[in-house]
């Protein structure tokens, strides 16, 4: 096992649902457990993926891990030090070492800034004040991400989605970070552009020994890029393992449903009966007792309602289920 870059210990993020009316301010309507007691390790130079349905807390977890959102409880260790207890100087160094690529390339770039200022902003913030030096580095970054240098003077609205995502990647790479959080980084793009961006990310990982936290709901993408996959359901991790093991022999019923939901490109087996998950994710405000998946699980029994399964480690794999598919 390689060196651990970032590790989360019992990380929790709860949102208080409060509504202040005229007569009662902050009446408690409940608590949303967006991230509920998550422990994970991200090894250096690897890609760790988080998958799950929309609203399961993937993005919240990703943002909490790099201290864009304050956690309710727990700690995150970066190179062995708790990121929530950083002083100003350590905080600055941490900001330099991590970056994030967002899902929506239309919302993540300030429409009033030129490309070279967008990519140059991290450089400026971290002390590269000289214009000439900065623009040289911007040109270099644009070259790395496959953008033409003459685009530096343009505004984001003059680019297509794929190009904008490249700008976002160039910005994320500007400070030679060690960890990049890719929050649905390719979900908004066409399949052909997706492949380009994924290959770019992979190549950059090889060249600069980057570590990725890859957040996605697209299993085929996850399978392609990851070294390790964590499956999330309603703020908890239900299963983890290498993509090969996970996709070929899922242990948790939820993982199996997720894999079944991926469309198959082969028409000869398309009509095969598949078990598809029905209904929506239960409300995170009042999650089901015991195992959170039991309301949609065909294997659920009494024990599932009574006790919450713990995440068990078995060899390379982890799962949290009373009735594992083994």
């Amino acid at each position: 096992m390689s060196e651990i870059l970032l590790s989360a210990k019992h990380l929790k993020k709860y949102y208080q649902i409060s509504s202040s009316t005229l007569f009662s301010s902050h009446a408690n309507r409940g608590i949303v457990k967006a991230v509920d007691d998550i422990t994970l390790d991200i090894p250096r130079g690897k890609t760790l993926s988080l998958v799950g349905e929309s609203g399961c807390g993937k993005s919240t977890l990703g943002r909490t891990l790099i201290n864009l959102i304050d956690p309710t409880e727990g700690e995150v260790l970066f190179n062995g030090k708790n990121i929530y207890a950083f002083n100003a100087q350590e905080e600055k160094a941490f900001r330099k070492a991590v970056s994030i690529i967002f899902q929506d390339p239309y919302a993540s770039l300030n429409p009033r800034m030129k490309v070279r200022d967008l990519i140059g902003e991290p450089l400026l913030t971290h002390g590269m004040k000289a214009k000439k030096e900065r623009y040289e580095r911007v040109n270099e970054l644009m070259k790395i991400t496959g953008l033409k240098a003459e685009y530096a003077n343009r505004y984001p609205h003059q680019f297509s989605g794929g190009q904008r995502q490249r700008i976002g990647i160039a910005r994320a790479l500007a400070l030679n970070p060690s960890l990049i959080v890719c929050d649905e980084a390719v979900s908004a793009l066409d399949v052909s552009i997706q492949a380009q961006i994924l290959n770019l990310l992979k190549q950059l990982q090889r060249d600069f020994n980057l570590t990725y936290l890859f957040i996605s709901h697209d299993l085929s993408v996850v399978r392609y890029v990851s070294d390790e996959v964590y499956v999330m359901y309603l703020g908890q991790i239900v299963e983890a393992g290498t993509p090969k093991a996970l996709f070929e022999k899922p242990i948790h019923p939820y993982t199996q449903f997720l894999i079944n939901a991926v469309p198959i490109a082969d028409p000869s087996i398309r009509d095969r009966e598949k078990m598809i998950l029905e209904g929506d994710l239960p409300s995170a405000i009042n999650p089901p007792s015991g195992c959170r998946f039991r309301t949609r699980c065909p294997y659920a029994t009494e024990i599932c309602a009574n006790s919450c399964p713990k995440l068990i480690t078995q060899g390379e794999r982890k799962f949290a289920c009373h009735h594992p598919l083994m």
Binding site: R63, I66, L68, E91, K92, R95, K96, V98, S99, I100, F102, Q103, D104, A107, S108, L109, N110, P111, R112, M113, E121, P122, T125, H126, Y155, H157, Q158, F159, S160, G162, Q163, G168, R171, L175
Partner: protein, 362 residues
């Protein structure tokens, strides 16, 4: 040299096609037209050729469709994007909106008159001539004289300077204060937000003219104090609007991206929030200018604003109202001036609001 001749050629062609616009927006369109014409011409020649042999048609059309790409370096599909910037689009839509265009012309005229007042006045606006008291409009005094025999036209022209100053200075000051407090309030939230918003509430709770009058009574009536009074009165609504904008902008991902980089909070306000508030600030500004001009006129009319012999429009109406029946031109003409300037600014403001509102965009 080559560029210059190219430019003249384009101008000539443009005027021939009737596409010459005052802002020169026709050029890009013309270039596009020319390229389309070129390809169509190519196609036509192909059609002529196809009369001889139909079989060769398909191969030739494919050649002609490749023609424009062989002139320019090949551009991938991702390059086909709009080149239209924010200001260009803004002026374009103002230009299309006839009402706003009229407003723009009137305001430009107003500003020019104010700037060049000393050179265009027919008489000295302060020169008292007791022999010509309340002269009716004639050739020498186009809109007559007032009760001290001063030329009203000259006084109105000089009054434009005061109105322009009143329209710009306090508006800019209150806009700056309101924008800063609104951004801080919206971005920082919590107690800061609470305190600033209650202050704004206090300012907005009073009728603005009443509050301005209170300030004027306390500070004493003078033109300079009007600046202060109007700045204090008007920042509240600006801060509310900017706060609302900030609340929506700060949730955007590019602000989060800036935070993830480690950009300081005030730098985020300056670099990311403020530039995205500019569209609403422009509208707010153009709609606040006439309001300030009206307020100054009201204050001066009530006697707590500009003091005689300053040629303020409001003061002129106030002094002229005694002669409203015998010599109506004394009070009515400055009223018309106020009306025209205010309506011109409102035209522009409405046009800008339509142009910048994403919901009314076509």
């Amino acid at each position: 040299m080559i560029q210059k001749t190219q430019f003249f050629k384009e101008i000539a062609l443009e005027s021939k096609l009737g596409r010459l616009t005052p802002f020169g927006f026709g050029r890009k369109r013309l270039k596009y037209m020319m390229s389309v014409e070129a390809t169509e011409a190519g196609k036509n020649s192909d059609l002529d050729a196809s009369k001889d042999s139909k079989s060769s048609k398909s191969s030739k059309t494919s050649k002609s469709s490749k023609m424009p790409s062989s002139e320019q370096p090949p551009r991938d599909a991702e390059d086909l994007v709009t080149d239209e910037g924010f200001w260009q689009a803004l002026f374009k839509s103002i230009y299309r909106d006839k009402k706003a265009l009229v407003g723009l012309i009137m305001v430009s005229l107003f500003i020019l008159i104010a700037l060049f007042a000393p050179w265009i006045v027919p008489h000295d606006p302060y020169a008292v001539d007791m022999e010509k008291v309340l002269t009716a409009p004639n050739k020498a005094y186009v809109i007559g004289t007032d009760f001290l025999g001063r030329d009203i036209l000259s006084r109105i022209i000089y009054g434009a300077r005061i109105s322009l100053m009143i329209g710009l200075v306090p508006t800019l000051i209150s806009l700056a204060i309101g924008t800063f407090l609104g951004m801080v309030s919206g971005y920082f939230g919590g107690k800061v937000d609470y305190v600033i918003m209650r202050l704004a509430d206090v300012c907005m709770a009073f009728p603005s003219l009443l509050l301005a009058m209170v300030v004027m009574y306390t500070l004493g009536a003078s033109l300079f104090n009007i600046f202060i009074a109007l700045s204090i009165v008007n920042w509240g609504s600006t801060s509310r609007i900017v706060r609302a904008q900030t609340l929506s902008i700060k949730e955007k991902e590019f602000v989060e991206a800036a935070r993830s980089i480690g950009v300081g909070r005030f730098k985020i306000l300056w670099r990311h929030i403020l530039p995205n508030c500019i569209p609403s600030l422009i509208v707010l500004f153009t709609l606040s200018v006439p309001e300030a001009i009206m307020s100054e006129a009201s204050l001066s009319f009530l006697g707590v604003g500009a003091q005689p012999p300053t040629p303020s429009w409001g003061l002129m109406i106030s002094r002229g109202k005694e002669f409203l029946f015998s010599s109506p031109w004394v009070a009515i003409t400055p009223g018309i001036a106020i009306f025209l300037v205010v309506i011109a600014f409102n035209f522009i403001g409405d046009g800008l609001r339509d142009a910048l509102d994403p919901y009314t965009k076509h």
